[in-house]
Symmetry: C2
Subunit: 315 residues, 2 copies
């Protein structure tokens, strides 16, 4: 029997990455090209067709072996209909991605949001390989999440399952407003943006910290300073970690996953972030909810999106 292959599309605002996975979730070939967002949706959908056809024709596989094409897109999506309702970073409103691409490519096309897709990528071919039930956090500019149940993305009623960045975790007295309209969301403290904000606040307050010497503070600066022993930065890192661990405790007694996977730029900080996360998680959850449950870094890095998108058409 001929091997089936799966195509994934990671649709970003500046570049489109396409990749080809085998049946075990191994990424065997990729291609990346500019999105051309400024030319509008029709142009971008043409580019996706072009890049996907090129990807497959440059590979050792035949077009007939393509079992399906998946795409990860940031924004509000109507997933069953493959419709982008609103994508701020692409400037799209009401774009029929699934229908258009299926006509162009003659293959089943499935879309899903970028955080869910990254979670599926890690579950299928990364840090969650072989684990049926897991939860991913993507710690980047914002905080995204994805719930994998029996190897599939779990969407929930309105597609809001796994929107862990908007768990209200910060007590009112310390809470600040989130882009989503709520206050005290996890994303306000545990994203790169939140960490940078806490660094800038410390600098403006005149706290004794090595961050005061940096013009434009990044999240990496805060982690580096903490690793070098800066107390103010250590407190910031611990605060970001505390709220991730706190949200994990809530997730653990709701879906009780076997593994938590943390990806995104912030997760690269390593054990200085992971240790206090695990400590808080264990402190705030019943033992049976964390016993045997690992908290591990993502392993696919920027490939998680393209692998997960490819995995959207797994049966």
């Amino acid at each position: 029997m001929t091997q089936r292959i799966y195509v994934g599309v990671d649709l970003g605002g500046t570049s489109i990455k396409v990749g080809l996975c085998d049946e075990e979730g191994k990424l065997v070939q990729t291609f990346e090209g500019p999105t051309g967002t400024e030319h509008g949706p029709d142009y971008v959908l043409d580019r996706i067709e072009e890049y996907v056809r090129k990807l497959v024709s440059d590979s050792a596989y035949e077009w007939e072996q393509v079992a399906g094409i998946g795409a990860g897109i940031a924004g509000f999506l109507d997933i069953p209909n493959g419709f982008v309702e609103l994508s701020p970073n692409l400037g799209w409103r009401n774009v029929a991605v699934k229908k258009t691409l299926e006509e162009k490519l003659g293959k089943t096309v499935t879309i899903d949001n970028d955080a869910n897709v990254a979670a599926l990528g890690e579950a299928w071919g990364g840090a969650g390989r072989g684990i049926a039930n897991l939860v991913c956090y993507t710690l980047g500019t914002g905080v995204g999440g994805g719930i994998i149940i029996n190897g599939k993305i779990y969407q929930g009623y309105n597609g809001m399952a796994g929107e862990l960045g908007h768990m209200s975790v910060v007590p009112d007295v310390e809470a600040i407003a989130c882009n989503c309209g709520q206050t005290g969301c996890l994303e306000t403290v545990s994203s790169a943006t939140g960490i940078v904000r806490m660094g800038n606040d410390a600098k403006e307050r005149g706290d004794r910290t090595s961050l005061a010497l940096i013009d434009t503070i990044t999240a990496k600066d805060v982690f580096d300073a903490a690793k070098a022993g800066d107390e103010v930065s250590t407190r910031i890192v611990n605060r970001a970690a505390f709220y991730i661990g706190k949200s994990m405790a809530a997730v653990a007694i709701t879906v009780n996953p076997q593994r938590f996977i943390l990806g995104g730029g912030v997760s690269r900080a390593g054990e200085i972030l992971f240790n206090p996360i695990r400590e808080t998680f264990h402190k705030l959850a019943p033992e049976r909810a964390y016993s045997g449950v690992e908290v591990v870094p993502a392993t696919l890095g920027n490939d998680a999106g393209v692998v997960g998108a490819a995995g959207l058409n797994l049966r």
Copy 2:
């Protein structure tokens, strides 16, 4: 084709309730008898056999129509093996319920914990009929919960999915210890026990409240006083409601159910409890996570356990 029927067993410390459901989750016949806990597990398992056989022989159905027997049990269970590891209210340790009853009855036997089973009962034949994804809270002496995904109980890795009473929701400064060993669990404030404790605290502090006139305060007393305009009792009810709503917001962005169902004695307080719960839920969750999501009372009352137990063998 002959109609299949499902038998449910609600195994309590003082009585065993058995019931017979049709394929639509309608409870058509019940029987209740004493548990005889003091005589030990063998005696109790004999009673279950006796009551189940009597239930079916007194009904309009034949034994051959019984598709399976389910039992809801409070305690720590090894569900796949049908083993009760520890049940404090039965005084059981390591009892092979599934194996023993299958030998006695010659039918498939499935067990699950009481809160999960109540959730399944409401999902199948009660307030969740027709809804595939929902979350139940059982507000009684403690706070239990159950997560229903695609019409089935979702257990999670260690069977801890839906243990919502142990979500850490109360800020440290106000948190008290929970039986589970953590502090600040939902159960410490939003169970009948928590409400009674807050009533007693108010009385002992000498607060101006009609509760001061009551010797032994019950949760119902607190709700009745709140309904009659007692301010202290209203604050207690609002506090219990606030933390349920807060936990709901966390659950809503984790599994994003279509419906929340609240059962158990405390839920009978009605709108005085439900209104502030909905208010907090809407305040602390993104709109897409609560829009179209109903928060409704359970409708099966004490029958939820027996209906859900019967539903454990649905395919």
